[in-house]
């Protein structure tokens, strides 16, 4: 009975993240448009875009290798598995006993590795620029992400996300300055990983500034749909990760009844709305950085994460 229940819970969360991801992107776009006093596309526009792309034919460059055709599926699979490891409305995740926060970082890292390969595969100049910039950003964001994971793990005593979420929701946390620093560091990493505004603009095709868009310029049809869907999934993953580690209240426990699960789902939707709204406000209020300033911005995240670990080390060893 328990096995069945776990499988059902895991399946529900996996399909929930897949279904909600385009909606979150649509919501952020809508709020940004309203803040600029535009009407903006309807909330369901990302779904329509995906369906339209699915129907279209794939146009491949003459010199595209087999890797170029396989990579969209690899990226999508890696991102979806990573997203299914983050607790959304309930803590009962079957997969979480096989993989933890470090595995999530590794899955996202390999997805990014394949994306950078795909950018260089066809041999156009834009793909190369995009890949080299993406790898530069990743080389700074990934250590920050890992060290944030370490400092959270030092506080909670585990890298398993459901365990971390349960610990953060209990009274045992106390007042931790390290958690505040880890939160800021994780937010900066999330902005960088999702190609949001101070690092990269998700809505532009300007040659000099684009990073993510430059890499996927050669994709079309269902390949492009899969890549778009995985970047939407990635945004949802990071928002859920921040919600689950730093705002763990209202998440249903592993053995909760159906009513509690429904309540957890409602609270989760509320958290997504609030964080998505904050993201839109932040993106509207700030200007995009020059590429050469990005290392300083991400260096601040790395520094905060290291400092959080050091401070936690002091209070832990006393």
């Amino acid at each position: 009975m328990n096995e069945l229940r776990d499988i059902l819970s895991q399946g529900a969360q996996m399909s929930l993240v897949l279904g909600l991801a385009p909606l979150l992107t649509g919501f952020v776009r809508k709020v940004k448009a309203r803040l600029l006093r535009r009407r903006g596309p309807p909330l369901l526009q990302p779904y329509r875009d995906l369906i339209r792309l699915m129907r279209k034919d794939v146009v491949l460059a003459d010199n595209a290798s087999w890797l170029f055709r396989v990579i969209p599926y690899l990226i999508f699979a890696g991102t979806w598995v990573a997203a299914s490891l983050v607790p959304t409305f309930g803590n009962g995740l079957l997969f979480s006993w096989t993989a933890d926060l470090i595995a999530i970082t590794a899955l996202l890292g390999s997805a990014r590795f394949f994306q950078a390969l795909a950018g260089m595969d066809v041999g156009t100049a834009f793909g190369g620029i995009g890949s080299s910039r993406e790898v530069m950003i990743a080389s700074l964001a990934e250590p920050a992400m890992l060290i944030t994971a370490f400092s959270v793990a030092m506080i909670a005593g585990s890298t398993q996300l459901p365990t971390v979420a349960e610990f953060m929701g209990s009274d045992a946390v106390g007042l931790r300055v390290s958690l505040g620093m880890a939160f800021v560091a994780l937010t900066i990493v999330a902005l960088a990983e999702n190609a949001r505004i101070p690092i990269d603009n998700p809505a532009t095709h300007l040659e000099l500034t684009m990073v993510h868009e430059a890499m996927v310029l050669e994709y079309s049809g269902r390949h492009l749909a899969l890549i778009d869907l995985s970047s939407q999934l990635k945004l949802l993953l990071y928002v859920s990760l921040i919600a689950c580690v730093f705002l763990p209240w209202g998440t249903a426990t592993a053995d909760a009844s159906v009513a509690w699960l429904a309540l957890g789902a409602l609270v989760y939707l509320g958290k997504l709305t609030v964080l998505g709204f904050l993201l839109a406000v932040f993106e509207t209020a700030i200007a995009k950085m020059r590429v050469f300033r990005i290392p300083e911005f991400l260096g601040a995240a790395l520094m905060l994460a290291l400092l959080a670990t050091l401070l936690r080390f002091v209070s832990g060893s006393l």
Partner: protein, 220 residues
């Protein structure tokens, strides 16, 4: 001492280290001064909390001195000096921000390792305060080393002194006379340095200390 009291003291001392890093990160003079005022404000809060935890009323006076002199008077005076010197442009760093940050993290790690090793007998609050105070002092030295502008070196010196005050309040039974005399000697040092800044400017038409090196024939 309850764990919440310790956690709040840890939070405030940790924020002081964070403010030191923010000073290391700033590359504009006015922003540097504002962060310095924040640094002194956090110090005042931290000392005030120590006064409450240790039941030591004279520490409230130390907190008040930190708040009035260091968070208000000195930043305002430095603002006026910068305006009169006409140098509200960017600070030139000797090495890049990334390397400076890494050096700063290294210094913090070093001071924590050293202080936690040499003070196993003291109580938790004093050990933690000493570890953070040493890192604030070392970061202040790092600010002085990495900056060429004489005004930002003064700010580095002042933040170093904040670290000393933190260390002094962590140790129980520091007499008030000592603290007041330290505070006033810093104020006098500040006045002397302020006069020197104008003398340097008159002599070399700049407060970039590289001009001094060149004058002594050390570089180029």
């Amino acid at each position: 001492m309850s764990s919440l009291q310790f956690d709040i003291a840890h939070l405030l001392a940790g924020s002081l280290v964070l403010a030191s890093f923010m000073m290391l990160y700033q590359d504009r003079l006015y922003a540097l001064l504002n962060v310095y005022a924040l640094h002194a404000g956090v110090l005042a809060l931290s000392v005030g909390w120590q006064a409450y935890v240790q039941q030591a009323p004279h520490l409230y006076i130390t907190a008040l001195i930190a708040l009035v002199f260091k968070a208000i008077i000195i930043p305002v005076a430095l603002h006026r000096i910068i305006k009169r010197l006409g140098i509200h442009r960017e600070i030139e760093n000797v090495i890049g921000i990334g390397l400076t940050m890494m050096a700063g993290i290294g210094l913090v790690a070093l001071s924590m390792v050293v202080m936690l090793r040499v003070t196993p007998g003291a109580d938790a609050l004093a050990r933690e305060d000493l570890a953070f105070a040493l890192s604030v002092v070392l970061l202040g030295l790092l600010i002085m080393v990495t900056r060429r502008n004489a005004v930002s070196q003064v700010v580095g010196f002042m933040s170093l002194e904040n670290g000393l005050v933190l260390a002094a309040t962590g140790a129980k039974g520091m007499p008030l006379v000592v603290e007041i005399s330290v505070a006033f000697s810093v104020l006098i040092a500040f006045i002397v340095i302020g006069i020197f800044l104008f003398r340097i400017r008159e002599r070399f038409d700049s407060v970039d200390v590289q001009a001094l090196d060149r004058f002594r024939g050390e570089r180029r």
